[in-house]
Symmetry: C2
Subunit: 277 residues, 2 copies
């Protein structure tokens, strides 16, 4: 059996009881280490699980999946993923390879940023996912529902030069921060204004920045876009939500996280123009 086990978002104890039991009984346990990161590292997980983990980077999962699946028809293999196992296409690919090889699989779900983001009080029903590759994709900025932008993650990526030369030298991991994303959005706003093109957001659009959701030191701030461009939410991973039409209860929740006590005081909630404060 191939078990795809979600680890949740925060620390070692965010695994489910069911997931932990699976890890303890499997003959090999892989840790997927490129679509997301936990606030704790591999070593902390190994100590807590009492198991050695095999790091599975993008190369291994995409090019050496057979090694991960080896023997999984007669023994149990676990593949651990931060968040929920079905956040990234690559893991569908692993499932398909397993099924084609006659290997059964089971998914053990957990929280992911897709649902945990609700902790800021915005209803998931109104959340659309934005461009995963940075915040520069202007196409998405005309939507009126809340827009969730994941900050860009670059782990084990090669520079263009090293890629062309076939050298397996990797850049240090980089994680986009909320203030960097907000700064890029402000640039788009300014560029559009210069070109006199319409855009649904402005410097005053209410946004929410979230960091390390689910971890003990998670940080949430709500404020105008230009305020978020100046905030420092600490270590990765960061997410940014551009709010759309806000329900009064959503406004009340956002006020809990206001960058400044009065920054969301004037927020109106009466009509669809409420995404500026």
């Amino acid at each position: 059996m191939l078990y795809l086990v979600g680890l949740g978002l925060g620390g070692v104890k965010d695994i489910t009881v069911k997931g932990l039991e699976v890890i303890k009984k499997c003959s090999r346990v892989y840790l997927e280490a490129y679509t997301s990161i936990l606030t704790v590292g591999k070593q902390a997980l190994e100590e807590y699980y009492g198991r050695e983990l095999i790091l599975a980077d993008r190369e291994m999962v995409e090019q050496d999946a057979d090694e991960i699946l080896r023997g999984a028809d007669v023994t149990d293999v676990a593949f651990l993923v931060v968040g929920d196992p079905f956040g990234a296409t690559t893991h569908s690919d692993l499932v398909l390879r397993a099924v084609n090889a006659g290997i059964k699989y089971q998914v053990i779900h957990n929280a992911s940023i897709m649902n945990a983001i609700g902790c800021c009080g915005l209803q998931e029903a109104g959340l659309s996912q934005g461009p995963s590759k940075g915040a520069r994709n202007e196409m998405c900025l005309l939507k009126l529902s809340h827009l969730l932008c994941f900050s860009d993650i670059k782990v084990k990526e090669q520079s263009m030069e090293n890629l062309l030369r076939g050298r397996k030298i990797y850049e240090p991991p980089r994680y986009m921060s909320v203030n960097q994303a907000a700064e890029q959005l402000l640039e788009i706003v300014r560029n559009r204004r210069e070109r006199e093109e319409e855009l649904a957001i402005s410097e005053d659009t209410v946004c929410v920045g979230l960091a390390r959701v689910g971890a003990d030191d998670q940080a949430i701030v709500a404020g105008k876009l230009q305020q978020l461009a100046c905030c420092d939410l600490g270590g990765p991973l960061h997410s940014l939500i551009i709010t759309g039409h806000l329900h009064p209860l959503e406004v009340d929740m956002l006020r809990l996280f206001a960058t400044q006590p009065d920054s969301l005081q004037s927020l109106r909630t009466t009509d669809s123009s409420t995404y500026t404060s």
Copy 2:
């Protein structure tokens, strides 16, 4: 401290280790019992946690929240929610009441249908949430991204007569099934066609029915809308996805769940007209 603890979707062991530790240390533990259900009941949870659970129905949460929060400034109270705690607006309300009463709160996340739905292989990025109140809302049917419709849940609801007479007599719980939702959609398709109005779906639109996601006996079927109107996925809870533009990898995954071996064979994946097979 008020702890809002997600229970995940399947059985007793879908709670996180962190969540289980919280339940064991709290002085009172409430089980929210109206926005969703687990495949196991209150008694199974009580036995597994080794704790008595206080059932919190809609009336209690909406009208007697002070009782839930009583003493939570000096002791620990847990509020358990199937899935993730922030799936329903009501729980934002509880958080706001806590904060206003000077009570700290902490959220312990878990899988919810919003992210676990990815197990059918459709990327969440393309998923929009449809009408929660049944599938009859025609407004949403013109979208082209995948549309997730939760089947209607009616728990502890009064009949109109009992409501008007102020009698606290409740109807038996009802859960809409995938085939009922598909049947309602077919009716909309037929009505629209009679009125010669445009609609983005037809009898041949590829849909996915899911039941008891995350539980050991979860069921997933993929097929044309008219095929799903004839399927029986067993007990609640059910969800239905109307697919939009499909990525080739999504098609491969859906074929794993085809209602009939050949029902998705002819599915094309080359352009945005791919949502008919």
